[in-house]
């Protein structure tokens, strides 16, 4: 890999993870660097350890090895690494949309109430949900909830946004719209994203880097996605990249007995 010499925002060395209640080593000595402005998509078969990896980065799990975020060892969750889950229930149902964000800002130490509201509204505009700011989460669609969660992460000014299949539970059309909206935001904001998916099209459309994990939790392949955004199936090179990734994933499945 010939990345220019920037300092990684996220530096992972020999990350090993085994759950207390099981013999299986989920992640065997993973190394990974993520640089500012990266959009890293992680692809892998179901159960290979993608969520485990991102949860370790988020600070939700104990692990062996090192994970450094902005040069500091990750020991617990923090606002420098905000997680967007697949589960639509990641907003607090007892708070309105805007208050879900202002509450997070307050928790992270922003003292000025007016400034909190202004910031929350600014980011709600970015995800086109300003008109819904006084709604309660249960009044929103799944896609809208995910956009609020993304807005919350951005408003917190997290240096890395961690997304664990945030669009996987959405219908295809909404999912496509969310993808282009996310790309659009990414172009305008300086943000670093680690994005888990098991959808090849999604990885190609979003990522500038794509990492494929093998069934046993190793990094199988790590490549740069140089296709020009926005990527469509008609983009030159799309077919070849899709096939390459699909072959890698099929191998993993074929290895299954």
């Amino acid at each position: 890999m010939t990345e220019e010499k920037k300092t990684p925002i996220l530096r992972i060395r020999s990350l090993t993870k085994q759950y207390d209640n099981s013999q299986r080593v989920i992640l065997p000595r993973i190394d990974l660097d993520v640089y500012p402005e990266d959009f890293l998509c992680i692809l892998g078969p179901s159960g290979c350890g993608k969520s485990t990896l991102i949860r370790c980065i988020a600070g939700f799990e104990d692990y062996e090895g090192t994970i450094e975020s902005n040069g500091r060892i990750v020991k617990k969750p923090g606002t420098d690494r905000i997680m967007v889950f697949q589960d639509f229930n990641q907003l607090f149902p007892w708070k309105t949309v805007v208050n879900n964000i202002t509450y997070a800002l307050k928790a992270s130490g922003m003292a000025d109430k007016k400034a909190r509201i202004a910031k929350a509204e600014k980011y709600l505009k970015k995800v086109n949900l300003f008109d819904y700011k006084d709604y309660y989460p249960h009044q929103l669609s799944g896609g809208m909830k995910q956009r609020v969660a993304i807005a919350r992460g951005m408003a917190l000014g997290s240096s890395i946004i961690l997304m664990d299949e945030p669009f996987a539970a959405l219908d295809a059309m909404t999912r496509n719209r969310m993808q282009s909206e996310l790309l659009h935001i990414k172009e305008k904001e300086s943000m670093t994203v680690v994005f888990i998916t098991h959808n090849i099209q999604e990885a190609i459309s979003l990522g500038n880097r794509i990492m494929v994990m093998s069934r046993n939790g190793e990094v199988k392949e790590h490549l740069y996605n140089t296709l020009e955004k926005p990527v469509t199936p008609a983009t030159p090179g799309y077919g070849a990249l899709w096939k390459h990734l699909n072959d890698l994933l099929t191998e993993e499945r074929a290895d299954d007995k």
């Binding site: 617990k76 923090g78 606002t79 905000i82 607090f92 149902p93 007892w94 249960h138 919350r152």
Partner: protein, 257 residues
């Protein structure tokens, strides 16, 4: 539409019940002194408030109830919160709750009298006992069933332990807490009246005392009138207070199970 039919059916039933009562009265099977007519009960009801001072008696009982309820809820919240933080404490507190919840309030009256004397203190003690254990049970249940994702989001946005309890555990467990409150209130209300009746005149205040007083005066209509007052108060609390709170909190948030 459905709701209307139910309401009409209920009203018709009450009317039929009153008519039947009136017929039984007219047949003069029992002496009117022991079996008063609905009209006599209504009259006694009015008289209880206008000339016999039931109003202040009720207020006195409700005041003690409120004090005991607030004490019980606060202590239950505090101790349940502690058990959410500390596992050793949780183990001990769980045991205490299961044991003490088994003691009928009335069985504690002798102790209450010996410790606190006949009077308000003993009544408040009874109410407290009726509330604190079912409340604790519900709160602990509620805390245990808070979805993990809320806790992870809470940690992610930087909430510490105490703010996690106040800002996530309590609102997320509100439906449980509320059902505990309903159980607690119903028990407390009954416990309070029984206690006042047992004290019988020692304090000369409260609904329970009033009923006992009617009995000594052989005023059966007055007894029924008081019972109706007790039912009405229960209805006001159920529909006027609990339902309103429910509508404006977790029902509004889409959290009703």
């Amino acid at each position: 539409m459905k709701k209307n039919i139910r309401l009409i059916a209920q009203i018709l039933f009450v009317i039929a019940f009153l008519i039947l009562w009136q017929i039984l009265y007219s047949l003069q099977i029992w002496p009117p002194l022991l079996f008063p007519s609905p009209g006599m009960i209504a009259e006694a009801f009015v008289k209880a408030f206008t000339s016999k001072g039931l109003g202040p008696m009720i207020l006195h009982s409700l005041r003690l109830l409120l004090i005991g309820l607030l004490l019980g809820v606060s202590v239950a919240l505090l101790l349940s919160a502690l058990s959410a933080i500390n596992e050793v404490f949780a183990a001990i507190y769980n045991m205490i709750v299961s044991m003490f919840d088994l003691i009928p309030g009335i069985a504690l009256i002798p102790v209450a009298i010996l410790w606190l004397g006949i009077g308000d203190g003993a009544i408040i003690f009874m109410v407290f006992h009726s509330v604190v254990w079912p409340m604790s049970r519900s709160i602990i249940n509620g805390f245990n069933s808070v979805p993990n994702i809320y806790l992870e989001v809470g940690q992610n946005i930087g909430l510490n332990r105490i703010r996690l309890i106040l800002g996530v555990f309590i609102p997320a467990a509100l439906p449980h807490i509320f059902s505990g409150l309903k159980v607690g209130w119903a028990r407390a209300w009954r416990g309070l009246i029984s206690a006042e009746m047992v004290f019988g005149g020692g304090t000369a205040l409260g609904i329970g005392y009033y009923i006992t007083d009617r009995r000594t005066n052989l005023d059966v209509a007055g007894i029924f009138a008081t019972i109706i007052a007790i039912i009405l108060i229960g209805l006001v609390v159920e529909y006027g207070i609990f339902m309103v709170i429910e509508k404006n909190t977790f029902s509004k948030w889409g959290m009703t199970r």
